[in-house]
């Protein structure tokens, strides 16, 4: 029961962190090309940050429950004084920055990117990879950073398919595509590195619950990557000529992509709550 709650809080943390920080990153990198779609960005940043705040608090409370449920000095110091507390601190600080500057014009984007950076950095200090060493923690952080940008950008691209037309949409999608290729390369590379770091291949890892959950996650991720590739290779080029129809198809495809990413993230929260690479 507590474990299920912990997994749910983790899922909410991922959802909030990835969408809030990700929208901040995507907004900063796509900038003016978003045109009228830019007005959706503050909303995504703020709700993602709010969810991050709530989920981060909930995670701490649930962890205390799982450690015996007492607010005793050893429990408090273990939870708050260790990597878990450090990560929660980064999440809170980042989420507050995101909330405070969600709407700001001009230089506010720097505060938003910093806030998103703090939230994402929390994945470098706590977790399976972070427990190995700092470099592995940073690899996990890059994996999350790439995921965040991708999800944030898709959340903006989806309304754009309806709000923008012709050359404006075409330009936005091209700008997205160019950055996305590099971002997704990093996501994949970091994912493979995480597997190489975390999984002990001398012990038939695919038979362990961790190995099996990871296999499900990677299969789902392969589906998303396939769909992303399809969007890039088949749908995006059609935007220039047959605008309207292609935009509607692209929008549908992006919706599916976001849904699949949600499935991958759900599998990940199960993976990091219920299973461990070393049991």
């Amino acid at each position: 029961m507590l474990e299920a709650l912990a997994a749910f809080a983790k899922l909410m943390l991922y959802a909030g962190a990835l969408s809030g920080a990700g929208a901040a990153f995507a907004w900063a990198s796509l900038g003016q090309r978003l045109g009228p779609v830019g007005k959706f960005a503050p909303h995504i940043v703020a709700s993602g940050a709010g969810l991050t705040l709530l989920a981060s608090f909930a995670t701490i409370l649930i962890l205390i429950q799982r450690l015996g449920g007492e607010f005793s000095p050893p429990t408090i110091s273990a939870v708050i004084g260790g990597p878990t507390g450090f990560a929660a601190g980064l999440q809170l600080a980042g989420a507050i920055l995101l909330l405070a500057f969600a709407r700001g014009q001009g230089w506010a984007w720097i505060a938003r990117v910093t806030g998103g950076g703090l939230v994402v950095a929390s994945f470098a200090v706590n977790g399976h990879a972070a427990a190995v060493d700092l470099v592995s923690g940073i690899v996990a952080c890059v994996h999350v950073l790439a995921t965040a940008w991708w999800l944030g950008a898709l959340l903006l691209l989806r309304p754009a398919c309806r709000q923008l037309t012709g050359a404006a949409l075409d330009q936005l999608v091209h700008a997205f595509s160019r950055i996305a290729s590099a971002v997704i390369t990093n996501l994949l590379l970091a994912g493979v590195l995480l597997i190489l770091t975390l999984v002990d291949f001398s012990h038939t890892p695919w038979l362990s619950p961790y190995g099996q959950t990871l296999a499900i996650k990677v299969s789902l991720a392969t589906l998303v990557l396939g769909l992303a590739l399809y969007n890039k290779v088949r749908l995006a080029p059609r935007l220039a000529d047959d605008g309207g129809a292609a935009a509607i198809t692209l929008r549908r495809s992006i919706t599916a992509e976001i849904g699949l990413i949600a499935a991958v993230v759900s599998a990940t929260s199960f993976l990091t709550t219920y299973t461990s690479p070393h049991t």
Partner: protein
């Protein structure tokens, strides 16, 4: 932007060459070993982890008594924790511990120590703590 990201990939690949190590805290051993039969309460109970962990609770369940908390040292992260003079009762003592592993997961386990006055101290040959990871 793109060039920056490409160099990031390369940097990561290089960094990873210097990896891996295992990342999960479990119990390496306890003194006394779980399953021990002793003539009297041991002077101390020691729990050793294979990796830094943070012990958060240590309680003993004795026959016919309410659970009792044991004080332990040190506070904070360590690979070894000690409870001094646990004053175990005659009969079967179940010592339950909970800890936060280095990777942020709760872990827990139980050490069973039987106190039998006059018994010659016996410790089981194979360590069989009933410990459970997440």
């Amino acid at each position: 932007m793109k060039r920056f990201l490409t160099s990031l990939s390369l940097g990561l690949a290089l960094a990873a060459m210097s990896a891996p190590a295992l990342a999960h805290s479990t119990v390496k051993g306890t003194v006394p070993v779980s399953g021990s039969i002793l003539p009297g309460s041991p002077p101390e109970i020691v729990i050793n982890f294979n990796q830094e962990a943070r012990l958060t609770s240590l309680v003993v369940a004795e026959p016919g008594k309410p659970e009792r908390k044991l004080d332990f040292m040190p506070g904070g992260a360590s690979t070894s924790f000690m409870a001094h003079d646990p004053k175990l009762s005659i009969g079967r003592n179940e010592i339950k511990w909970k800890a936060l592993s280095k990777d942020g997961h709760p872990i827990e386990g139980t050490i069973i120590i039987v106190i039998k006055p006059g018994a010659t101290p016996t410790t089981p040959p194979v360590q069989h703590e009933e410990h459970k990871d997440h």
